[in-house]
Amino acid sequence: MSACSKTIYRLSFICFLLHSLMLSIAAAAPANPQTVDRPPVIYPDYANITLPPNIAPLNFIVQERGKKYLALFESESGKSIRVKSRSPKIQIPRRAWKKLLAKNGGAPLRITIFSYQDGRWNRFQTITNHIAKERVDSHLVYRLIKPLYVYWNRIGIYERDLTTFREKPIFLNKNTVDNCVNCHSFANHRPDRMLLHTRAGKVGTNMLLAVDDHAYKIDTSTDFNRAVAYRSWHPNGKVIAFSSNTVNQFFHTTGENRDVYDKASDLLIYNLKSNTITSTPKIANDQKMETYPEWSADGKYLYFCSTDGLEKYDPTEHPYRKIKYDLMRIACDVEAGTWGEVEAVITASDFGMSVTHPKVSPDGRYILFCLSEYGNFSIYRPESDLYLYDLQTSQFHKADALNSDKSESYHSWDSSGRWVVFSSKREDGLCARPYFSYFDENGQFSKPFILPQKDPEIYSRLLKTFNVPEFVTGAVQISGQKLLKAAWLKTALKAKLDPELGKKKQDTADEMWKPIPKK
């Protein structure tokens, strides 16, 4: 056989293989299948959901008996997709999926599943999902962390491209000798304005601020406050509201064993340009504890959660069950530096509940928040649920479509206001996962669905929490190398304190979360 004919022979063989592969993908639906009068059980549950037209393929596992499976994906227009598999794992070809969704915004997506068992095909009832017209922000940033008790080890902040399965680390604490890293946040979902905090360890407790492709290391502790924690960027992108908290952790002997309460907390305003921290006694005083700042969409109000200071309680009894936060707001003109009066928005303590994580929708009309029995650490409260407050009607209701019997906690709106992502422990009560839901013009949420993964089995064996999911409109601009270099800078830029605030004695309580002590 000549070299030429050998090549031809090889090419034909490759073509044959490719053809077989294509056939397996585009296999026709089986003839005369037995009808099963119910929808199939699939994991993750991607049935009756509304999905963004730009989401990555929703790969799943068919939890029905069978020797082989066929999944048929169809919509109003475009080429339908057929996935044939010998395993119950259905992995959808990305390009075909992308095309199908892109052509069918606003139309249904029908999934028909067949399983081959006992010599015949079974056809389950078709699952009908809805493809929304509105795209979701292209990236999601989250922190991956093992369920944290006292000692942390490996922590990483990652960016996931929602249109593909690409996950990229932004900051890994293995590069900073295992310090803690948390509270990543973006100004108006912009990938070029980001902050995160590093805590303890060799790089110290600082804020890493990334603005216009430059990274700065800022020491936010002053004579008035400890290093800052929870944050909210002002819509103008020049000012950030922070809380400064003294956190205490304790453990229960039954049920969820972790619990947290604040011993003290205040709200502060950080000005990026002047590197100055300021506040007002109205939101930074010893009589009240204020936390979880959140700017209104127009930047005229600062929303926050507030409760009485601990001095109010009987010192012989642990007060944790009595600590209940109300939702408040204060008018603020950040340009002029003037403050209005504190107003109550939801006095949850009146009905024995506690508000956390208020998040204002981009159109400024709604606030999505958590409500739990007590405290401000909703991720440790199994009864924590999401509620929606309508600023137009001043009414709120439970967002039933989103909630489960486990903890629903941190959440964020995407830039369009049509999508929300929230942390839920509904799967196992142990690890929080990001769930997405469509929010329609009538103020209704659709059934949530979990972040799709290339290998849909991942969630069943990943012992990590997806913490603080935040939408971003593009890939994070600052490089990981720049952030790392900033973290290792020997000296941090010290935030200046507004002289009008004066000094405040800080609680020197031991940190409740620590790096593992060296042997």
């Binding site: 590069n175 453990f251 002997t253 196992d428 069943s460």
Partner: protein
């Protein structure tokens, strides 16, 4: 004898060719199997490995991650002594054989046949430390393999050479990180001394220095220090630093010396055929030198207390309480972890309240509940205590701490699977089992345990049922500084919790609260004891003697006459010396297993 003759002779006797390697492998195997015991290396390192792309992904973000992933896999062989010893024997031999071929390929022959075996003693010393990672050895093997491949190519064209070097170094650097420098160094030295191309050597050295820098500034997120030092183990302990540094340095030094020796002894004429006797003497000298160094390294002292510590941990993990007690007698009895495990072993062998003062109990209450300073180092062991006591939430807490400290080890995952099953959180338990199903040695356990998730609790194993019966039912806040409060709550929740009861008695005795102990002695019969444990009798006698209170409700079987007789003797001796305990010590020493002796000599030293 010429090289050709040697070759002929060796090829005619294949056994002769492989004999040194077989001997070394056998010697290394025996050394590790009998002296070091690889299961203790496993105990020390607890390497985590899952047959899972998700697990691999964690290692794929940075240079050297693949090597770490590979050594996590190889580390699984330590779980069984024979496979662990075999692994080390094979890796040691592979390393020396590859070095042999590298030397021969670069220089044509060896100056001394013992040369490739010289790193062996250092490797032996390093891997006798229990916690020395496999990354050094495996990285070295890979680097030597790449170097050998490069030498075998015998490339002439500098562009091709550079391209091949770039490709090999970049690949090896991504896989191994630091160890790739060994490959680069050997290649550069070869170019310099053997090929005599200073330019090529300089170019390769420059590329070697620059590639990690480029990687750290573009492709990977890591510090410059990590870009160069990952997997070299030069930042470990001082001893390891010296040994690992010596090892990394020794190979290039031997390599250069061999090249130079061959170069300077090279003559145009073929060397005269050596006499048989001279060849024999040279061969013997080489074997003797290697054997001497090997024996020297093998006989050098190992860290015996550390070895005993891992034995203690091993026996406690496998509930071999008899050996736990035996091991603590070899120098660990006065360590915090030693006392903690002794008391657990005493409880499990039914001797806690009867013979706990046969051990000095110098740690006081920390000997029962683990000293705060070591909890972060032994989180799973701390979890064990709470698990056995029935404080399942606290067992969960410390199992999660263990997950942070030692990683997703099978033992940590097993504990979490048990805890979540007991709490009725089967989905969380299933998650741990799903991970265990992807392990090397614990798949079977996971498959067995999975059955309990849906089974009636009556079908559970007895150990789980015991813990279930002891489980805390009412909520309270854990106060680690006051462990007795936990015991009180546990006993209030379930008065028949025998472990909580014995730990309460032991804690009362050890902290000198004998009055408090008397409040619990009336339950002895209810809990099925047929006599009062000896140490408790001793504490009761001391209380009665000191307080004069005799109206406490006593168990029907009362205090044994022998104990009363001993107490009277003890009291008489103490009285004879007017309470001067130092003078009384020689006479009282025969009572050193009694509570009275503890109370007199150790209690105040807490």
């Amino acid at each position: 004898m010429t090289g050709t003759n040697l070759k002929k002779r060796a090829s005619s006797r294949p056994l002769l060719k492989v004999l040194p390697a077989v001997c070394v492998a056998a010697a290394v195997f025996l050394y590790f199997y009998y002296r070091i015991n690889p299961v203790l290396i496993y105990q020390s390192q607890q390497p985590v490995f899952f047959f899972d792309s998700l697990f691999f992904k964690e290692f794929s973000f940075y240079p050297g991650g693949v090597l770490q992933w590979l050594t996590h896999f190889l580390g699984q062989f330590y779980f069984v002594a024979s496979t662990g010893a075999l692994l080390l024997a094979l890796l040691f031999t592979a390393c020396c054989l590859l070095f042999h071929y590298v030397l021969k390929s670069a220089a044509g022959r060896l100056a001394f046949s013992a040369l490739p075996w010289l790193p062996l003693p250092i490797l032996l010393l390093l891997y006798s430390q229990y916690n020395f990672p496999l990354t050094v050895l495996t990285g070295m093997v890979l680097s030597l393999l790449f170097a050998l491949f490069y030498f075998k190519l015998t490339l002439k064209n500098i562009f091709l050479k550079t391209a091949v070097f770039l490709l090999l170094f970049s690949l090896l650097y991504f896989v191994t990180a630091g160890p790739a420098f060994l490959f680069a160094l050997l290649v550069a030295l070869y170019e310099l001394f053997s090929i005599k191309s200073v330019a090529t050597a300089a170019l390769f050295a420059a590329l070697t220095a620059v590639i990690p820098w480029i990687g750290a500034n573009t492709l990977f997120v890591l510090t410059l220090k990590d870009a160069y030092l990952t997997n070299l183990e030069l930042n470990a302990s001082k001893a390891s630093f010296a040994s690992a540094g010596l090892l990394w340095g020794l190979i290039p030094i031997i390599f250069v010396l061999n090249l130079l020796y061959i170069k300077f002894t090279k003559t145009e004429e073929a060397p005269a055929k050596p006499q048989k006797s001279r060849a024999f003497i040279a061969g013997f000298a080489n074997v003797a030198a290697v054997s001497f160094l090997f024996i020297l390294a093998a006989l050098s002292p190992i860290n015996e207390p550390l070895k005993q510590l891992y034995y203690l941990d091993y026996y406690a993990r496998h509930s071999d309480w008899k050996n736990v007690l035996k091991t603590t007698n070899s120098g660990l009895a006065n360590t915090y972890i030693g006392q903690f495990q002794v008391n657990r072993a005493l409880f499990h062998s039914g001797q806690l309240c009867g013979a706990m003062f046969s051990y000095e109990q110098r740690a006081g209450i920390a000997g029962l509940f683990m000293h705060e300073s070591i909890r972060s180092a032994y989180p799973l062991q701390y979890s064990d205590l709470f698990f056995e006591l029935g404080l399942v939430n606290e067992a969960q807490h410390w199992a999660h701490e263990a997950l942070s400290v030692t990683g997703e080890t099978p033992w940590n995952l097993q504990r979490l699977a048990e805890v979540y099953l007991l709490k009725g959180e089967t989905a969380a338990s299933q998650k741990c089992l799903n991970m265990l199903r992807r392990t090397f040695w614990h798949k079977k356990w996971a498959l067995q345990f999975e059955k309990y998730l849906s089974a009636d609790p009556s079908k559970w194993p007895s150990e789980l049922l015991t813990v279930k019966s002891r489980m805390q039912t009412s909520d309270f806040i854990i106060t680690p500084a006051e462990p007795e409060l936990c015991l009180e709550e546990l006993l209030a929740s379930n008065p028949k919790n025998k472990m909580a009861y014995e730990y309460m008695l032991a804690s009362c005795m050890i902290s000198g609260k004998v009055g408090r102990l008397m409040n619990y002695t009336d339950r002895i019969e209810e809990l099925g004891y047929t006599s009062i444990p000896r140490n408790v009798e001793e504490a009761m006698l001391l209380f009665i003697s000191n307080s004069g209170q005799r109206d406490h409700k006593m168990p029907s079987f009362g205090i044994k006459p022998a104990t009363i007789q001993n107490f009277n003797q003890f009291a008489a001796i103490a009285k004879k010396h007017n309470g001067d305990k130092n003078i009384a010590l020689p006479e009282l020493r025969k009572f050193n297993n009694t509570y009275w002796f503890y109370a007199m000599y150790y209690m105040k030293k807490q």
